[in-house]
């Protein structure tokens, strides 16, 4: 189970970081979401992974740590609010500017080089 959780966190974070580094707002927003999922899972697992244990004292022989679960809950709520804000802001960016580029405008594209006509001796 530990290996699977670690792989999932790693995959989520890696894809999140990759998408954030893109230059369009939509991948950036998706990347932030994936990153926050990875972070939430990581935070959840910081209280050690266990099966069949409840975070309430007295209901079972041993209990799991309740604090990371409380932290994750807070982080999820805050993450949702922030994601909603970024979505609205990127829509605004899309409307205000020419495209959904994060810098508001397309980077300068050099025009296609003119085709040189072959100079032949004929």
């Amino acid at each position: 189970m530990e290996l699977v959780v670690a792989l999932v966190i790693g995959a989520l974070t890696a894809s999140g970081v990759y998408l954030i580094l893109r230059a369009r707002t939509f991948p950036v927003v998706v990347g932030l979401t994936l990153l926050s999922y990875g972070v939430n899972l990581f935070l959840f697992s910081s209280g050690r992974l266990a099966t069949g244990q409840q975070p309430v004292i007295g209901t079972a022989v041993s209990y799991s740590d309740p604090l990371p679960q409380a932290l994750v809950l807070t982080a999820i709520v805050i993450g949702f609010a922030m994601t909603a804000f970024v979505v609205v802001l990127s829509l605004r960016n899309l409307a205000d500017n020419e495209g959904d580029h994060v810098d508001g405008k397309q980077p300068y594209k050099s025009p296609a080089p003119e085709k040189e006509e072959e100079v032949t001796g004929k």
């Binding site: 932030l32 972070v39 910081s46 209280g47 932290l71 805050i78 922030m82 804000f85 802001l89 205000d96």
Partner: protein, 505 residues
């Protein structure tokens, strides 16, 4: 348990909620109530300063849980000082904003008050996770404030600011998780007890967590590799918002002070002074970078925004060296620079309003109407910011220079700070002479007249540089005591033993 500690959080919370529901009330009523809230925050900050001045720690435990199990607010001299800095700055920004900058957005005052609430929670909390929550509260309010006034120019810097801070929050959560997984606690006092006992495998995890925290706080404080978002975002924001943001970088510095003096301080065993030997060179490079930016800036607001980065570098250098005198000097400079930079942001907007299409760009333009008043304000602000005598910036810099022990560090700090101050003077005199002296003939057709509120707010905030010189004695005594208190971690740890109120009593 002292219930006064909740006042700087509850007052803006209630005032902000009131503003949210008053969106369609007459604007004069909203302004009066909002301003009254800010005045009340200042009053509560003064009360807390008086409480903290006896040097003891006061805690407020939510739900009467014995720390480290519950969430606590902790008041000490440093927290009280930061509350006062914020409240004074916020009052003048707020007075300025009711001169017309708050129009066009019904929720400006609500956002402004929520921003203050976030700042106050950050200064009072004694818990790492609560610090994260406070950061998020102040950030989401700051996103709204940054966009205030609209305009396409604000969308792109705003988007960069928001995305960067969200990534910062993710890193903050990861580092909090790493530290929690080893120590099993997030209460700062408890961490100060647990961190020295960490050994073996846990050591490297906590070390990585601590260094990542430094990255997050560095992003908030805008130290070098993480500072490029700041000049564009701050120079595009409305003046009172930009002036209020002058304290936002100081939240990062406050967090560095708190975490790296208490948790990773001298007593932290193998993790003592984590990251501090990195911080000193980075601070000097940040300072140099800020000066290069200031010299190259094309408008007054960008110049002031780079001044924010200069002051961050100047503040972090003595903090990284870790001496008590350096810490005290840094706190004095923090007070001075926050207010001065705030005042300069307000003044540059006033200048911008009087120059028509030239705005605040450093180019020749027709004469301004209130040239004398504005140029005197700019002169006072620039002298205080550059650190020329006789204003408060000079005292701060002298104290910082005096606090370094002779050696390599002294050579570096003295040369960078002194050459840097000289170049800052050049940057300000270049800007001032072009904007105020090199004018073309004639006046603008319809200049915006100065109104009483904006000129009083900008003038008073700038004049604080003079007031600080008059009160330099008491302020230095207070910052000295604060530095001594920050270096005595045992007293902070004792809050873990504070007896809680029993239910039957």
């Amino acid at each position: 348990m002292n219930h006064w500690l909740t006042a700087p959080i509850l007052i803006p919370l209630l005032g902000g909620i009131l503003q949210v529901f008053m969106g369609y009330a007459p604007i004069s009523l909203r302004r009066t109530l909002a301003l009254a809230t800010t005045v009340l925050i200042l009053v509560s900050a003064i009360v807390l300063l008086a409480l903290a001045d006896d040097g003891s720690y006061r805690i407020y435990a939510f739900g009467n849980w014995q720390p480290p199990f519950g969430i606590v607010l902790v008041l000490d001299r440093l927290a009280a000082l930061m509350l006062i800095v914020t409240a004074v700055l916020a009052l003048f920004c707020h007075i300025y904003s009711i001169g017309g900058a708050d129009e066009g957005n019904r929720q400006f005052h609500a956002l402004f008050l929520f921003q203050l609430m976030g700042l106050n929670i950050a200064f009072l909390t004694g818990d790492l996770f609560n610090l994260f929550v406070a950061f998020e509260v102040l950030l989401i309010a700051s996103y709204g404030l940054l966009m205030h006034g609209g305009g396409t120019v604000r969308t792109v810097p705003g988007l960069h600011y928001v995305v960067l801070n969200l990534v910062g929050s993710a890193v903050f959560l990861i580092s909090v998780g790493m530290i929690y997984s080893v120590t099993g606690t997030l209460n700062m006092a408890d961490l100060a007890v647990k961190i020295p006992q960490v050994s073996g495998e846990g050591l490297s995890i906590v070390k990585a967590g601590g260094m990542m925290l430094l990255v997050v706080f560095g992003l908030k404080a805008a130290i070098l590799p993480l500072c490029f978002w700041l000049p564009r975002a701050y120079s595009k924001a409305t003046a009172p918002v930009a002036a209020l943001f002058a304290v936002m970088t100081k939240v990062g510095i406050y967090a560095i002070l708190r975490v790296y003096l208490l948790i990773f301080g001298d007593d932290a065993g193998e993790l003592a002074n984590l990251g501090m030997d990195w911080l000193f060179p980075i601070a000097l490079v940040t300072l140099a970078m800020g000066i290069i930016g200031a010299l190259g800036s094309g408008s007054l607001k960008t110049l002031v925004a780079w001044q924010v980065i200069i002051s961050v570098g100047t503040l972090l250098a003595p903090i990284a060296l870790g001496s008590e005198a350096g810490l005290s000097a840094a706190l004095f400079y923090l007070l001075s620079t926050t207010w001065t930079v705030g005042g300069l942001f307000l003044v540059s907007e006033l200048v911008s309003n009087q120059r028509g299409s030239a705005k605040d760009r450093i180019v020749t333009a027709p004469k301004m109407q209130n040239r004398t008043f504005l140029s005197v304000l700019f002169l006072v602000g620039a002298v205080a910011a550059a650190g020329l005598p006789p204003l408060s910036g000079f005292f701060g810099k002298v104290l910082i220079l005096k606090s370094v022990e002779p050696g390599t560090e002294m050579a570096w700090l003295w040369s960078v700070l002194l050459i840097g101050s000289f170049l800052t003077v050049i940057a300000y005199s270049r800007a001032g002479s072009i904007v105020f002296w090199r004018t073309v003939d004639g006046h603008l057709e319809k200049p915006d007249p100065l109104n009483g509120r904006v000129s009083v707010a900008a003038g008073a905030l700038t004049a604080l540089a003079v007031v600080m010189v008059v009160l330099a004695g008491p302020i230095t005594r207070y910052t000295d005591a604060t530095a001594a208190q920050l270096h005595n971690n045992d007293a902070y740890i004792e809050i873990l033993q504070t007896p809680m109120i029993r239910e039957d009593s």
